[in-house]
């Protein structure tokens, strides 16, 4: 034999055995392949098919079957392209938040103006026009974002690339907070719409809201396309209902048949409780600006669209702006012309009162409008479910958020992001008692902060690149930045005391957290990265192997046998609680006739783990070689039998996990194993 040691054959999934046939020339090759294992492939390249996902145990199979019923069949990675959406499906998925805002934006502005009395409500229409004007600017500016950044990422990416990392993180934090609030506010508003025609459910709005969030989670875990298909019909139903309501209302007004205004259960004081000041008007504008939320979702989710992604996204954005404006202005016009007054305690929505006035409470259209409004408000929460996980995955890929946020689930959805969003939104919903009015002040700041950062970022981009048409783009985005910046200041000032301070406080905290996560990943990467000078696998000296032995049994024998196969330097150690039991163990060990040394450690305080850890420390100090601890672990047949065993090996593993220079090897001994230790 040459100087090289003979290496045993490495395990292989494919073997080719040539067999002699009955006749000369009838040789054939039997290909022994992993058929039935679910692994497909050859030559060292294998693909795990869906069959590998089948759980072995009954419990696992039942769990998987339950999951499949709830969220559907697993999707192959190649199905990603099929999971994309067109304009018709993209509209309900990405624009439902903005479109649904039309259901409560009028009311939010009216609720602030009503504090100054019925007369102040006349200002609702001018405020609505101002909001629509800002939306038009936002749509125009966002279309530039889509064209400049067709891979999505929206405000975060624009701000990061043009203003720097911190600005990007500020935009991302603002959007993440806003997405959470979108889910909480939309769910609360959806429940409020239901409680408008079913007042008896008003006390249960929190549990109902939580149940609805759970439903949305299931819908979104089924994947983007399926979620879109599930949510498309209600969105279009809402639009249809609104078109019907506006047509009838406008027709009645145009023909001089102005319907009498429905009276709210608990109206505001007609004379007002505060004077009509500029600040109050600005506050009303800030509240009405809630209707602009959700308009950033399309720019963030451009990759969700089918090709050509940019064109589809821009078309959906324009469609969204148009639909919102028509419904919002229409409802505001009807409310102010009819003379609707908001309800102090949110028992009945303005939307419900308008519908009741125009078509009557007993009309099928009333029920249709209320139900479709409730559903679309819930679907608006879905925009949060589309935006948050995608943005979190972008941040996770940039190592600003934990890596789990970038993991794609069995239905190609970002399951971790969806679950995290649901938990956060549920906590907020419960904390604010499911009130839309209490939640709205927290809202919109994030959106306008992100808008302002992305618009100003684009201005810098156009200035830097000077592409053809850069001047026009720069003017549009500068104007957009100025308008959204102004709205941001107005919202922050007017809603500061009402709860906006929480968001303003949270954003820097979240930025610090994201930055901290990034620094951790950077440190880990620096520690793990291979330098060009060390491409070879390092040669490891045979380690010192310590085998803790509780008693001499089959599990211990198996662990000792394995330890000896790893290194010639094996040391067994036994912890005894008394001298007598230690002596007895040593006698038994000697009867074993093995060449492995044993140390018996007496522990008069009956502790097993701590003396063993100190023993390992002492060995480690006296020897430079790496320490390997081989643990014999008995594995019972059923999971519940674990409770009957002391789990010393598990506790030791947990204690050794963070110990440097220590390798821990678990040698499980399964209950049904035979005593065949000579195997192999």
């Amino acid at each position: 034999m040459s100087g090289e040691e003979e290496r045993p054959e490495a395990p292989s999934l494919e073997k080719r055995v040539t067999q002699a046939g009955r006749h000369v020339g009838d040789r054939y090759v039997r290909i022994v392949r992993p058929i039935g294992s679910g692994l497909r492939g050859h030559g060292g390249r294998y693909v795990a098919t869906e069959q590998t996902m089948v759980a072995a145990g009954r419990l696992g199979r039942a769990w998987n079957a339950g999951l499949r019923v709830l969220i559907g069949k697993r999707l192959h990675s190649e199905a990603e392209a099929e999971e994309r959406v067109g304009v018709a499906t993209g509209l309900p998925i990405l624009a439902s938040d903005n479109i649904s805002s039309s259901a409560y934006a009028t009311e939010e502005a009216m609720r602030v103006l009503a504090l100054a009395g019925v007369g102040a409500l006349a200002l609702t229409m001018p405020i609505a026009i101002a909001v629509v004007f800002v939306l038009a600017i936002v749509v125009l500016s966002e279309s530039r974002v889509i064209r400049a950044y067709p891979n999505g990422g929206g405000s975060y990416l624009v701000a990061r690339e043009n203003h720097g990392v911190i600005a990007g993180l500020v935009a991302a934090s603002a959007l993440l907070i806003d997405y959470v609030l979108t889910v909480a506010v939309s769910t609360a508003a959806g429940v409020a719409a239901i409680s408008s025609f079913m007042p008896e459910i008003h006390p249960y709005r929190v549990p109902i809201g939580l149940a609805l969030i759970a439903l949305l989670v299931i819908g979104n875990l089924r994947g983007v396309r399926e979620a879109g298909l599930l949510f498309a019909a209600p969105t279009y139903a809402y639009m249809l209902g609104m078109v019907g309501l506006l047509s009838i209302g406008l027709f009645r007004i145009a023909t001089g048949d102005v319907p009498p205004a429905a009276v709210p259960p608990d109206p505001f004081d007609p004379a007002g409780t505060v004077p009509l000041t500029l600040l109050l008007v600005l506050r009303a504008f800030a509240s009405g600006s809630v209707g602009l939320t959700g308009s950033e979702a399309i720019a963030n989710g451009v990759p969700s669209f089918r090709r050509p992604e940019t064109r589809n996204a821009v078309f959906t954005l324009v469609l969204m702006g148009t639909i919102f404006s028509v419904i919002f202005l229409g409802l505001t016009y009807l409310a102010t012309t009819i003379g609707i007054r908001p309800d102090q305690n949110e028992i009945e929505t303005v939307n419900s009162m308008i519908t009741r006035s125009v078509v009557g409470a007993g009309s099928p259209l009333y029920l249709f409008v209320q139900v479709s409004t409730a559903i679309i408000l819930l679907l608006a929460a879905n925009t949060g479910f589309t935006g948050f996980p995608r943005l979190a995955s972008v941040l996770a890929n940039d190592r600003f958020m934990p890596r789990h946020f970038a993991d794609v689930g069995s239905r190609l959805a970002f399951n971790f992001g969806i679950a995290s969003l649901a938990v956060l939104a549920a906590v907020i919903l419960a904390a604010f008692g499911g009130s839309v009015n209490a939640l709205v002040p927290l809202y919109t700041i994030g959106v306008f902060l992100a808008f302002t950062l992305s618009q100003s970022g684009l201005v810098r981009r156009w200035w830097r690149l000077r592409n053809p048409g850069w001047r026009l783009s720069m003017v549009i985005n500068s104007f957009g930045a100025a308008v959204t910046g102004t709205v941001l200041v107005v919202v922050a000032v007017t809603k500061f005391q009402l709860g906006a301070w929480m968001v303003l406080l949270l954003i820097p905290l979240l930025v610090a957290l994201l930055y901290g996560i990034h620094r951790h990943y950077q440190t880990v990467q620096d520690a793990l990265v291979l330098s060009g000078a060390e491409p070879r696998v390092p040669v490891f000296a045979a380690p010192v192997v310590i085998v803790p032995i509780a008693r001499l049994d089959r599990a211990a024998m198996q662990a000792l046998a394995f330890a000896r196969s790893v290194s010639p330097n094996v040391k067994a150690v036994h912890i005894s609680t008394s001298r007598a039991s230690g002596d007895e163990f040593r006698r038994r060990w000697e009867r074993l006739g093995t060449d492995i040394d044993v140390d018996v450690l007496e522990s008069p305080y009956r502790s097993l783990v701590q003396p063993l850890l100190r023993y390992i420390d002492a060995i480690d100090k006296s020897d430079d070689r790496p320490i390997t601890v081989v643990l014999a672990e008995f594995v019972p047949r059923h999971w519940w039998e674990w409770l009957l065993h002391s789990q010393t090996a598990f506790r030791l593993k947990a204690n050794l996990l963070f110990r440097p220079n220590t390798i821990v090897i678990d040698v499980p001994y399964h209950f049904q194993d035979t005593a065949d230790l000579s195997r192999g």
Binding site: R16, T18, Q19, G21, R22, H23, G25, D26, R27, Y28, V29, R30, I31, R33, I35, G36, R40, H42, G43, T49, Q51
Partner: protein, 142 residues
């Protein structure tokens, strides 16, 4: 006949599911073992153990789907993939080696020159197999 071990030769045609179900109806009452094989024929200009990726993938796929069909029919089908110059010789040799007492093969209904066509493999297995052979031909498509 009460076979103890049945060899099912699978070619990846539309007749495969039929022959698997047929074998299941024979093997189940007799508690016979069933072995499904697919033979990749290797052209003479290639070495016998040449790695033919497409054929291997196809073979694996059809054996996996055969296993599924057999499972649905209540039959545990052991599968094997072979490479040979001549499929018929490999089928017969495997049947001899695995001590099978029945070889089952299937062919779709085909016509050549106006006459029903039985392929070379089916003919050669029929002629050379020392054990019983069950050749199933699909009905004529209208």
């Amino acid at each position: 006949m009460q076979p103890k071990r049945v060899l099912v030769a699978l070619a990846g045609t539309s007749a495969d599911p039929d022959i698997i179900r047929l074998v299941a109806s024979i093997a189940k009452p007799a508690k016979a073992q069933a072995i499904g094989i697919h033979v990749i024929e290797v052209r003479w200009n290639l070495p016998l153990d040449a790695v033919m990726e497409q054929e291997l993938d196809r073979g694996e796929e059809l054996l996996e789907s055969a296993k599924k069909i057999a499972e649905q029919a209540g039959l545990a089908l052991e599968t094997e993939l072979l490479q040979a110059r001549d499929a018929a010789a490999a089928i017969v040799d495997t049947a001899v080696e695995r001590k099978c007492d029945l070889i089952a093969l299937a062919m779709p209904f085909r016509k050549r020159l106006g006459r029903t066509y039985v392929g070379r493999t089916v003919q050669n297995v029929y002629v050379n197999a020392p054990c019983a052979v069950l050749a199933y031909r699909q009905e004529e498509t209208k």
